[in-house]
Symmetry: C2
């Protein structure tokens, strides 16, 4: 498990190497960020040969730990120019672990216009020309690999957006049913993969062995304790399986934090038709699936399969943030149209949050009216055709906003804000402003204490307590992101001490020595410190840890609130970590 696969796209060669000692006890985001920080020159162009794409399963991935199938992707981001980690569910991380790989590092760059496939097995790895895949969507790309290599593989691929090296390009990961529905979405990592001419990685774990904890009894005890905590928590045990992530729509709308029409209001009059409850009913009526797991070993099963009126599969979920981005944020209340957009995003290889936010800015710019679902679908067709407008949509909200001279562009460090208005949920504003990743809800999900009464209560409309809340969440998240555990386990961790005990016992069992909660959080702090150091070398300062001014000057209905956390407090989030 301490093996790194080096893929040299310049020399078109692959090499397995023993990981350096300092990397051996790292996984997931902890490992991708460490490798990027140590090996990528901070000033390099993100699309240049000097950037590196790192893919890493988490520390616990493949061990049988519940919900531990996350795959981290890391690089210098073409969207934010910060260090970037985006992680995804799906089966590839588990399969890579079974192939004995701690990470894949993709380096260099081949001749322009060339397209390659990397095939990974437990014993081998080969690079093959794959020019026949150029321009294909993720669905066709994966289908061709399955036709050729069988049903037991998993795929990591890019669509046309990644090939265009677009700022909103994602990296797709196949789910249990071999559909490219899971994505390392944020920060344009698909563009880095595209710049390296790597279209798809096919992982075939046949004959591999899953990672074996050093102390299996201790590990199993932790896993049981952890599993019980997940099943016992109302969100991970009941709410997420039944209604999925989009159960948040009504909740966030009720507190006035559902960004509507490019962050012009905090409540959307059309939320009901696109809510999680309605989505649940539509799926059940049409014969789709609720409580669907994106990888084996997931006990939360927050995903679902969305089908059309004939019962034909359209897409997974879609998730809350996706439905919001293409829905309320665009003034669109048509769930079927949103599902088709999600399908197109997945096929094109686009981050659904960035794409929806960009369409909303296009609406703000007058390119199409708010509420125009067919027009929004048309913009995604433009992406597929590679027109100038399509490339703009695929480049993210900030670039489109610049091109059309728009002031109201909701981005931090070049990345669009997700589905929680920071004027109504101030803790999320702290995370958006200060995260090492640009605006990112998963970096420190303050919705917990601000809205859900998970892990305590902090008034969402006041600044008091938000800094400490965001700091603690960012530390815990960075630690969880190193393990390969899905971030949703945090709900249980925040409310039930047994969950964190279980994680520490699983890690302790894996390493064969005692791991305390402090050890676990130290891993998070170390990762944040590494990421902050890289960003500082790029040129990021406290002046960049800010929301766009309009969140301080424009009042948000219904609370008529503005973002109220003072700059001086924002600058304290990483006190003691830098």
């Amino acid at each position: 498990m301490a093996t790194i696969l080096r893929v040299d796209m310049n020399g078109l060669s692959v090499r397995r190497e023993e990981a350096d000692a300092r990397y051996r006890e790292l996984g997931g985001r902890g490992l991708t960020s460490a490798l990027v920080a140590h090996e990528v020159p901070p000033h390099c162009h993100p699309l240049s040969a000097a950037n590196k794409l790192v893919l890493a399963p988490g520390l616990l991935t493949g061990t049988g730990a519940p919900c531990s199938g996350r795959l981290s992707a890391g690089a210098k981001s073409p969207l934010t120019h910060t260090i970037k980690e985006a992680n995804s569910g799906g089966m590839a991380a588990i399969d890579l672990a079974a192939c004995g790989l701690q990470a894949i590092v993709v380096e260099g760059r081949p001749a322009a216009g060339k397209c390659y496939r990397l095939r990974v097995t437990p014993g081998d790895a080969v690079l093959e020309p794959a020019d026949d895949l150029a321009g294909l969507g993720n669905y066709d790309t994966v289908a061709r690999q399955v036709d050729r290599f069988g049903q037991k593989v998993s795929c990591i691929s890019i669509g046309p957006a990644g090939e265009m090296r677009a700022g909103a390009a994602s990296i797709a990961v196949t789910d249990v049913e071999l559909r490219p529905t899971r994505h390392c979405g944020r920060g344009g990592l698909g563009a880095v993969m595209g710049s390296k001419g790597l279209k798809v990685i096919v992982v075939d774990p046949a004959g591999g062995r899953r990672p074996r904890p050093a102390d299996m009894a201790g590990f199993r005890q932790g896993a049981q304790k952890f599993n019980a905590a997940l099943l016992g928590h109302p969100l991970t045990g009941e709410g997420l399986p039944k209604f999925g992530t989009n159960s948040l729509a009504n909740v966030i709308n009720a507190v006035g934090g559902y960004p509507t029409r490019n962050f012009s209001a905090g409540q959307f009059e059309g939320v009901e038709p696109i809510s999680g409850e309605r989505q649940h009913d539509v799926i059940v009526e049409r014969g789709g699936e609720i409580a669907h797991a994106c990888h084996r070993g997931c006990t939360i099963r927050c995903s679902r399969t969305y089908v059309d009126e004939q019962g034909e599969f359209v897409t997974k979920g879609p998730e809350y943030e996706t439905i919001w981005a293409h829905g309320g944020n665009c003034g669109i209340d048509d769930l079927d149209a949103i599902a088709r957009m999600d399908r197109m995003d997945d096929d094109l290889g686009l981050d659904t949050i960035e794409t929806g936010a960009t369409i909303a800015v296009a609406m703000e710019a007058g390119i199409l009216p708010f509420g125009d679902a067919q027009g929004a679908l048309g913009l995604l067709e433009e992406v597929r055709r590679g027109t100038p407008l399509g490339r703009l949509i695929a480049s993210g909200a900030e670039v489109l906003g610049k091109t059309y001279g728009i002031e109201r562009v909701p981005t931090v460090k070049g990345q669009a804000l997700p589905a929680y208005d920071p004027r109504a949920i101030q803790g999320m504003g702290v995370t958006y402003a200060t995260s090492t990743m640009g605006a990112d809800h998963t970096a420190g999900y303050a919705v917990t204490a601000n809205v859900l009464s998970v892990g305590g209560k902090v008034d969402p409309l006041r600044s008091e307590g938000q800094i400490e809340l965001s700091r603690n969440l960012q530390i815990a998240t960075a630690a969880i992101d190193a393990t390969g555990l899905c971030l949703f386990v945090a709900f249980a961790v925040l409310d039930d001490p047994a969950a964190l005990e279980g994680i520490c016992e699983m890690l302790g069992g894996y390493f064969g020595r005692r791991i305390t909660a402090e050890d676990f959080l130290a891993l998070g702090k170390r990762t944040l410190g590494v990421e902050r150091g890289f960003n500082k070398a790029v040129g990021y300062t406290a002046a960049h840890d800010r929301l766009p001014d309009f969140f301080r000057t424009e009042k948000l209905a219904p609370h008529n609130s503005t973002f109220a956390v003072p700059d001086e407090e924002l600058d304290q989030v990483f006190a003691g970590i830098d």
Copy 2:
């Protein structure tokens, strides 16, 4: 002369106020940068109501000092997000001085889609609705003002690019013949004017009085000394009048510093047909004008009028940087096509350098082939039509490069490099990297000692001496830019001590007290310090004072050189100024 005109585009009112004491001895860039630094929040969006557009004649403008007609425009730049000053020739600065104005400060923002004219006279200023001008090019805009207000006015206007709030949008200033041929080109200041709904400023100096030096005899003595130095220098007395700025084409090409096909080579095989010598012959043969002054009182007369084969006026010049940007940098050797592009840039209100650099990146992206003059003209037609591709062309090289996933984008702080490759003329690389304005040749024109043997000699291919050279030039330039003197006087200043004596005596005569060379340079240092302070508050650090990596990794033919000045030395340029 210590009066500031405040134009409130929110309340649609104007107000004359006595300048604060700290502004009274400032002019031009010294004044625009001081006002922007004091009054504009560094974090504001450049297109928001919080930004301010400042227009200021120089300290000596209107006094009769030779070559003193520059108009400075300043704001936070939409292109670079730095503080920005861009200055222009033409008649408006002299006319504003005659109206008794030290500066115009345009503040706030009106309702979207509204278009206004500001009329300024010695006794009055009024804002008038001008929706009938919306969408017009600069030529038609000016023609309508002249029809209505007569031949004695001057105009400051924006074209469609400014109305689109595009990153490459310029502010046009009319010349002696009332043509909108002079531009505050760089940094997208036309977009700031556009964001404020201000289409045109018409200045009618009738009845005004030109500024009167306190010590007229001392002033006149300085002016005579200065004038003699200008006439006596081979460049300002002879080379520039005869061959214009484009006499540089053969010179820069000969030293291998003429960036060709998006900075892929340092010599252009097609330079002869677009050289200053050929341009001179074409103009003379066709009955155009050489040695043309862009404002009254200019003794250098580096401009010219370019006419077509029928002898009809096409455009001024074009200047060296314009011909290079649309010429060698795009692989185009057709002078008539380039002149038409210059005319279109002026009419659309586009910075010719940024626009040419953007077309070259479009060629690098494969949108059209290098050398395609008709295709390049077509891209400018796209700008006029406001298509997505046109808006991209008007947004500058960096945005277009991001949208098409291009690594080789020659920008610093978001602004395109001008017509001197930093690998062959290393001193220019130091200025590009460290200037407070993003890549800008006029910020510290090291071509002097690197190539022209003006102000000493520094080997252009070595790093030795470049830091000190660029530092001294940046200080002297900031001082000259405060006076309203054309930067071309620097050739004389660098070679003939009498020129600087003359400037100090003119300033001394103007203020009625002795001004030393140290006082003069202190003005430059103060301005740079103010600008650096603003940029630091925006978030700029030493990490941003860098060229794109490819200038260090790609060798430039014919010298096979890379940019060799170490980062640690770049960080010393402003030692003692910050």
